[in-house]
Each structure stands twice: as C-alpha cells, then as structure tokens.
C-alpha cells in the first residue's frame, strides 16, 4: 500500500511541470542561473534552439525548486544529460520539449521519464505503428483508427524509455500498452508505474519508479508555469494547476508480475 499506519508515505514525491516558450523572452531571467557548462552548450546552438534550451533549463529549476522547497535559483542539474539533480542532491529529472512547450518531471528518489506531444499532432502514425509496435498494439490501434490513442501510446513508450534510460532504436516494443490501458514492461530491476492523458491541448506520458506495489498508484500532479517574458509586468512566474484528464494511470507489470 502507498501509506502505512503511522501516516508515513514511503513513495517518492512526484510532479510534472509545463511551460510555453514566451513570444518575447526575458533572456536575462532565462539565462542568469545557467551553470558555466550549460552556458557553453547554449553558445553552440542556433537562436531557436537556444530559446528551447534555456527555457527547458529554467523550467527544470522552477520544478526542482518548488518540489524540493529549495529556491529555484539554488537548484541545478548534474552536468550532461539532465536526469539527476546536483543541488539539491538526489532528485531524478526528465525533460521533454515539443512545438514550443517544455515539460519537466521530478521525483524525490526514483527514476522518472516524461514525454509530451501536441494533442492535435497528425503524423503518418499508421506507418509507425505497423513498423515499430507489437502485434497486439497494431491490432487495436489500427482498429481504433485514432490519432489520439496513438499519441497516448507513443508518449508512454517514450517516457518508459527515458525512465529506463534507453534509446528509442529497437526498444519501442519493451513497453506494451493494451486497449484498456494495461501496461507491461520488460524492466524488472524495480517497480514502475505510468500514466498518460491530455492536459490543455498537450498529450503527456509519464513513467516513474515506485517503492511499494499498490492497488491504486500515486499520480503526479501537473502544473503550468508562466515563463519570464518582457511582455508581462509580473515579476514572479505564476503557477497554475494543469487540468489533466488521465486516460490510464497504473502500475506497470513485468512478466510473472501481473496485477
């Protein structure tokens, strides 16, 4: 169970943070907390990618700052891929970016992965399903003929690969998604849970490590953060809860571990 009789909840503290790129970025506010390594990386990028990069890194600090209670300005990730925090220590992180929106998922002590896509996105998804998904998924997704369902499954798979720290190549079948939303994965090194749903025009998938096998898994709250923009006078970035409609949230079974 997620809670114990003395009220102590052993599960990780989870949250997902979203932010839209500002049209008139306040570059000073977006970049002032970058570490020298991040600043050097940013200098190698073209301007559109620079905004994406520093906006994501800014959001990471907001997410970590609010989740941990340490001020955002004192938070920063380890160098390299931003999957762990360096200050405060020990938080797991995951970033995603799509079409001008950044997402950052944080967990107080277990691996986490997040992926976002605009819900209106239309790709040649049938071709992707036929080529990369397993037979069960092919059958129900092609029958359902729904780009929405495809994006739910896709974001879950991407979040799964980020949480388990694997590349997409050859690994899209390591998490299987059933039409009723049941999830089965191949990583037995720990217990996992995941969910996908729609929040304000964004399809969001998130997968995270859990510590106890529960009948109802804990679901991360989702927040929107206003980015620093020159077109707004507010000094502080407002935080508003994201109204997420989950399609599925549940523990991920592995072989021999069915719920």
């Amino acid at each position: 169970m997620a809670g114990t009789s003395n009220g102590y909840n052993p599960e990780p503290t989870l949250s997902v943070w979203l932010s839209r790129e500002p049209e008139q970025p306040d570059w000073q506010a977006l970049t002032r907390c970058l570490t020298p390594v991040e600043q050097a990386r940013m200098d190698t990028l073209s301007p559109p990618r620079q905004l994406e990069y520093c906006h994501s890194r800014w959001l990471l600090r907001q997410a970590l700052g609010h989740a941990s209670g340490q001020g955002p300005d004192q938070c920063y990730p380890e160098a390299g891929r931003p999957v762990r925090s360096a200050s405060p220590r020990g938080w797991a992180l995951s970033l995603s970016h799509s079409h001008g929106v950044s997402a950052c998922a944080v967990s107080s002590h277990a691996s986490i992965g997040v992926d976002i896509e605009p819900s209106v996105r239309r790709s040649d998804w049938q071709r992707i399903v036929k080529r990369w998904f397993n037979e069960t998924e092919q059958a129900w997704l092609l029958e359902a003929d729904s780009a929405t369902d495809f994006l739910r499954v896709w974001t879950l798979k991407e979040a799964w690969l980020k949480a388990t720290k694997r590349g997409i190549a050859g690994n899209l079948q390591t998490l299987s998604v059933c039409p009723a939303g049941k999830l089965q994965g191949d990583d037995r090194s720990r217990l996992w849970a995941g969910g996908t749903g729609e929040v304000d025009g964004i399809t969001l998938g998130v997968v995270y490590g859990i510590l106890t096998r529960a009948t109802a898994v804990q679901v991360p709250p989702v927040f929107w953060v206003d980015p620093p923009s020159l077109s707004r006078e507010k000094a502080l970035s407002a935080i508003t809860p994201g109204r997420i409609q989950w399609w599925t949230t549940r523990a991920i079974t592995t072989e021999g571990n069915h719920d």
Partner: protein
C-alpha cells in the same frame, strides 16, 4: 571511357533516368541555396549505394523531407524519425536520417551568421567552375585539396556524411568542377554555361 555511339561519359550507362541526369543535370553550375542543400544531402545518402538508387528515390525523398526545407527539417523529432524509418520511399538508415537533420541545422546556423550556403560552397573554387579536360575516366580524381577543405569546413558546421569523396562527387555534380570527359558533348556545354 565515353560511349562510342554518343560520346557520353561512360559512367551513366543506358538507364534513361541516369542518361537524362548526365545530359541535363550533372556538371551544370548550380547556385541556388536550397538546390545545393538538397543535392549535398542526397549525395550523403548515396554512401555505400549506387547513385542511381538515390536518383530513383529522389521524388520520394522530396515528399518525405518537406521538399528539403531546412527550417522544417531542423525541427524533426522522434515521431518524425520513426515515420521516416518506416518509409520505403527513402533509404531507411537512422544515421542517414539524422544526417539530413544535422545538415539542416548547420545550414540554418550559417544563415544566422549571414552566410549564404551557395556563396560558402562556391568560395572553395573561388566562385568559378574549374575546367578540367580529362580524356579517361581513370584519370578523374575521387577527391581533391578543395574537396578536403570543403569537407572540413562543412564538418565545422556539424554536417555529416560529407567526407572528401562525397563532397567531390557533389562538386562535380553541381558544376564546381567540369569533370565531363573532353570527348563528351556535355563537356563543352558545361564549359559554356560556366562562362555565362
């Protein structure tokens, strides 16, 4: 060697598509930024394959890659890459797909720096097609000092699949060098085009 009947460079064989490419495209000086970008990407796709394979897929490439619009390509993400990897109209190789995306980002970076892609490329031959006069296919080099320099410069902008041999094939095809054999009717045509 040239074809004894037509005098054409022998490398294009008899396939009508290849012959037409030899007669109307290969060696004609090309100065358009986007046409040059498309050609450089396609030459990279050829690595390990025959050019005819890529030529036959050219329409498929244009449809799959947003008609080689660097802005669109630079924004490609995992969904788009998965879509391309499942598209039989192109060469389905992840490194080659990523190469076109990296090249588009390099192209845009040059643009941000105020550098025209065409002028950048042509600066390696001082803006003027080099006129060679080879009589024998065996004499035509596979890379030159210029192609090595251009290859190095492209790598500095993170272009990939742009080794000196690929780059030399690109320089020949886009008329930066006139490597039609002297006996081939296209040699004179390209020489005249270069002087306009």
């Amino acid at each position: 060697m040239t074809d004894p009947g037509t005098g054409r460079c022998g490398w294009c064989g008899t396939d009508p598509l290849y012959v037409s490419y030899h007669d109307h495209v290969w060696g004609r000086p090309e100065y358009d930024d986007l046409a040059l970008f498309e050609k450089l990407c396609l030459d990279g796709q050829q690595a390990g394959l025959s050019w005819l394979t890529i030529l036959r897929k050219q329409a498929g490439y244009r449809a799959a890659y947003d008609y080689f619009d660097p802005v669109a390509i630079a924004a490609y993400d995992e969904i788009k890459i998965a879509e391309l990897l499942a598209n039989p109209a192109i060469v389905r190789n992840k490194l080659k797909i990523q190469s076109i995306i990296k090249n588009a980002r390099g192209y845009l970076q040059m643009q941000e720096e105020g550098l025209s892609f065409s002028r950048f490329l042509w600066s390696f031959v001082d803006g003027q097609p080099r006129q060679n006069a080879w009589g024998n296919l065996m004499d035509v080099p596979v890379q030159t000092a210029q192609s090595r320099a251009l290859s190095k410069a492209l790598r500095q902008y993170n272009f990939t699949f742009v080794g000196p041999t690929i780059v030399y094939a690109f320089m020949q095809a886009t008329g930066m060098v006139n490597d039609h054999l002297v006996q081939c009717p296209a040699h004179e045509k390209c020489r005249v085009l270069a002087s306009i």
